[in-house]
């Protein structure tokens, strides 16, 4: 894309983009770290993930400040306006991803005190898919690839389906081993966290798409196949 006549404007946008990209990378690392800690029931690694979340919080504030400067100094319009507004929303979403990873770490600490219980492999599969979504949506952002953003957005359905399967699986194990219900409840919530990370990535994809194409992906069109809070519960009753 052509540069702005005022070079400082491009520099300010580049700074903002750098923060957003860095946050995306960190959120991905947090997810990977949280899942490693969970797989190994490693309290030290889990504590490290919890501590690192503070950096994401700080970067979100940095991004907000940088965006406000662009608004104040440049009064951005058109794709610049879309980009700055989207950056603000994206950093909020990415920060939330970090919160979900932190919550997985927090639950890992609790689980590690309860004694070893086999981790449902489907959680790993969910984490792999969620991570790929985060990775790809950040690639879409960096490489300005609206098609890839759309593709990530469409993938949310598969993760929702996995979540439904995980939910059923964990519920079944709860019935089989009622004495493990404490740990299994944590697994249930971890599955939810992973599904929510996918949701955040989907929302980021919407922002990337809007920034690049100037067209909003309608909320109504968003794939919603997470049934755990409605049909599945009704089915269980």
């Amino acid at each position: 894309m052509t540069d702005h006549t005022v070079k400082a404007y491009d520099d300010e946008l580049r700074d903002l983009r750098a923060i957003v990209s860095r946050m995306g990378g960190l959120a991905e690392d947090q997810l990977v770290g949280a899942m490693e800690a969970l797989n190994e029931f490693d309290a030290v690694k889990a504590a490290a993930v919890r501590a690192s979340d503070k950096l994401l919080d700080k970067l979100e504030i940095d991004a907000e400040k940088a965006a406000i400067v662009v608004f104040a100094r440049r009064a951005p319009v058109a794709d610049d306006l879309r980009e700055v507004v989207s950056s603000l929303k994206m950093t909020g979403l990415i920060e939330r991803m970090g919160d979900y990873a932190k919550n997985i770490a927090k639950r890992t600490l609790a689980i590690s005190e309860m004694g070893p219980v086999a981790l449902p492999p489907i959680l790993d599969q969910m984490a792999r898919d969620a991570r790929k979504m985060v990775q790809d949506v950040m690639d879409a952002y960096v490489h300005r690839d609206a098609d890839l953003a759309m593709e990530v957005w469409e993938r949310d359905e598969a993760l929702d389906n996995l979540h439904n399967a995980a939910y059923r699986h964990i519920l079944a194990r709860m019935m089989e081993t009622p004495e493990k219900v404490g740990v299994l409840t944590h697994f249930l919530m971890i599955a939810k966290n992973l599904e929510r990370i996918g949701d955040q990535a989907t929302n980021v994809a919407e922002q990337v798409f809007y920034t690049l194409r100037g067209v909003m992906l309608e909320e109504a069109r968003r794939p919603k196949h997470d049934l755990t809070s409605t049909e599945l519960m009704t089915g269980e009753q």
């Binding site: 894309m1 052509t2 540069d3 702005h4 006549t5 005022v6 404007y9 009064a75 951005p76 319009v77 058109a78 794709d79 610049d80 306006l81 879309r82 100037g214 067209v215």
Partner: protein, 266 residues
């Protein structure tokens, strides 16, 4: 369904343009300054004409009340209508036309006369007032509509040129309004004003748009975004894009528009 269809019809009717320019070309000698422009102006609507210097926006604006007639080398082709009537037809009285299509210029240009006479000048020459009371009424109403009445009501005999720049510009707007125009053309009306005076003129434009069709040429993107409902982007004599201001400033369709409004033009 019938009701919907008739409502749609009414809507279409009310959308009949106040002014319509069709395939307008303007030449200064051999220089083709405005190239095949088609654009409509509506009552209740402000249209901002934006574009870099020399893009043809002011030239086009000046065609709308035949200001270009005074430029010897200027040739205007195409059709411009006011309420469906061709303003370049031979039977058209240009003085009358300019009363219906008023103009406010970049630099406030009050006559070297009193505030009262500045506003009364047009109504007098157009014979709009039978008595002094009528004229007083026209002058006070125009000054009120221009948001200037309270500031000048006690000094109507003071020279117009003694007012501040912003007040002078609003006096010029009052002068244009006094002859009951239907369209108001503004050529960078705030470029010589400070931000406070600019805000007052912009607030005035906002109020006036209910009664008149307004076209404003501006170099300020933010002003176009603030005051207009429609924006037309001109570049090298072409009308590159014309549409809802909110659309133009959030998601313009043309790359040239995007480059211009975001400051990417080299």
């Amino acid at each position: 369904m019938y009701k919907m269809a008739s409502e749609l019809e009414t809507m279409t009717e009310t959308r009949k343009p106040k002014m319509l320019a069709e395939n307008v070309n303007v030449f200064y000698g051999t220089n083709h300054a405005v190239k095949g422009i088609t654009l409509d102006l509506h009552q209740d609507e402000v249209t901002a004409l934006i574009g870099p210097s020399g893009c043809g926006k002011s030239t086009f604006l000046r065609c709308l009340n035949r200001m270009n007639d005074t430029v010897a080398s200027c040739r205007v082709e195409g059709r411009i209508t006011l309420d469906g009537e061709d303003i370049y037809a031979s039977r058209i009285d240009v003085v009358q036309l300019r009363a219906r299509v008023g103009m406010v210029f970049q630099k406030p240009n009050p006559f070297p006369k009193s505030i009262y006479d500045n506003v009364a000048y047009g109504p007098r020459i157009h014979g709009l007032a039978q008595t002094r009371t009528d004229l007083d009424e026209i002058v006070s109403t125009a000054l009120e509509k221009a948001g200037l009445w309270n500031e000048v009501k006690d000094r109507l005999e003071s020279p117009g040129t003694a007012l501040s720049g912003g007040q002078q510009q609003r006096l010029c707007i009052a002068r244009a309004i006094a002859v009951n125009p239907e369209v108001i053309l503004m050529d960078e009306p705030c470029s010589a004003l400070d931000p406070i005076a600019t805000a007052k003129v912009e607030a005035l434009i906002d109020e006036l748009k209910g009664r008149y069709a307004i076209a404003i040429v501006t170099h300020s993107m933010q002003q176009a975004a603030r005051v207009s409902q429609k924006t037309a982007f001109f570049h090298m004599g072409d009308l590159v894009e014309h549409g809802d201001t909110t659309e133009i400033f959030t998601a313009p369709k043309q790359e040239r528009t995007r480059d211009y409004i975001t400051g990417r033009f080299g």
